[in-house]
Amino acid sequence: MRDELKRYNHFLAQIRQFFSQQDVVEVQTPQLLNTPTTDVYIDSIAMQVNGDFEKKSKFLHTSPEIEMKKLLANGSGDIYQICQVFRDNEQGSHNFNEFTMLEYYRQDFDIHQLMDDITQLLKTLGIDSQVTKLSYAQAFFEYGDIDILNTDFAALKVIARTHGLSIDFEWIEDLQIFLFTHLIEPKLKDLSLCFIYDYPAVQSALAIVEGKVSHRFELYINGVEIANGYDELRHANEYQVVFEQEIEKRRTLKKYTPDLNKGYLEAVQSSLPQCAGVAIGMVRLFSEINLK
């Protein structure tokens, strides 16, 4: 028990040292928020507070992203945070209602520089396996024989049907993700370190879109999804568009629909600097290191 705790402690210390050497500052942001996440497939855990005088709903953060971006928009520079995050309706052997996340932002980086930086971080943690970088389109070409960026919803449904899969999807991005899970992910198990980058524009989330792709990436270690990073949107109006779309989608799926996070839009009124950010699942990463 104690040895295991010490190993995790050492792992944390190595990460903190890595950031400290690069002058990335550790921050702590609020975990109890007034507004739940708008992400369509992530649900915030809600709670009632101040029942003794003025009952109010609060929400545990599902990621420190929103609060850290407020800091970035107000001149924080490079920052990182290691914290517990909370999500409702999580299921699966790698998913839990509470888990530890490392989130960090590097100013003037793009996703490729950030992927290089993560590779360095992994090296300091003892993971120095061969790195494979595949664009989302390449992965689909190679492992699924599908031109994912140029296949429309109807054509993609035909492909899904030939694989004997469900075609009951509201939006093309959900079917893309489903096909990725079915066709591509099993192949990633054979690659020890694999970055998938440049996701279809319809899967942009909070990443910058350029033509048919959004500058996002995910890191897979031995086929397990470990990290998710973006070239971050910079301006309040861009965030507003995404939030409104997500709220609308949640409405379509008859899920809880949050109010627009006006506090956030005001806080980033002065815009974020050009930066790239990433969220890393700490326990998943730690267990991959221990497998070695």
Binding site: E90, Q91, S93, H94, E218
Partner: protein, 187 residues
Amino acid sequence: MANYSTSQFKNGLKLILDGNPCSIINNEIRKPGKGQASNKVKLRDLITGKTLEKTFKSGESVEGADVMELDMQYLYNDGSEWSFMDPNTFEQYMVNDNAMDDVRGYLVEQDMCVVTLWNDNPISVTPPNHVMLEVVDTDPGLKGDTAGTGGKPATMNTGVVVQVPLFISIGEKVKVDTRTNEYAGRT
């Protein structure tokens, strides 16, 4: 037959896929950081015996298969069909010869087998783990070899060929493991 939603999936659940009854061997939920959850499921096709891998959208529902496994006594084989009896109801079931490919070499009259029924029709038979078979053909053994070193092929009364110790001779009854097709002793 009822439909099952992915949230009811568990090992051993029987579903209809591409018209065939299948049994879930492994069910894994995959929830991406961004996007909807899905179930990655391994199944065994109960007719072909093949293993399939399918991904279901979370919440998708699939038709259940009315599959039962019953202990039955093997009675006889008339050349094209194999006859089994449920000892509780005395009901007899005829199994087509082509469903017997992997097991016909292990069927001994009166032995209890597991017969898998789909919509009340037998689709497969699982013999007991060990059966007693009679050696009908094998090379003469070496005298004095009792340690069972080495071995030789022996044809059994059911047609199956099993590697047996050198001291086994024609007419002897031997115990055979039906899962591995290995000799498992003399009594």
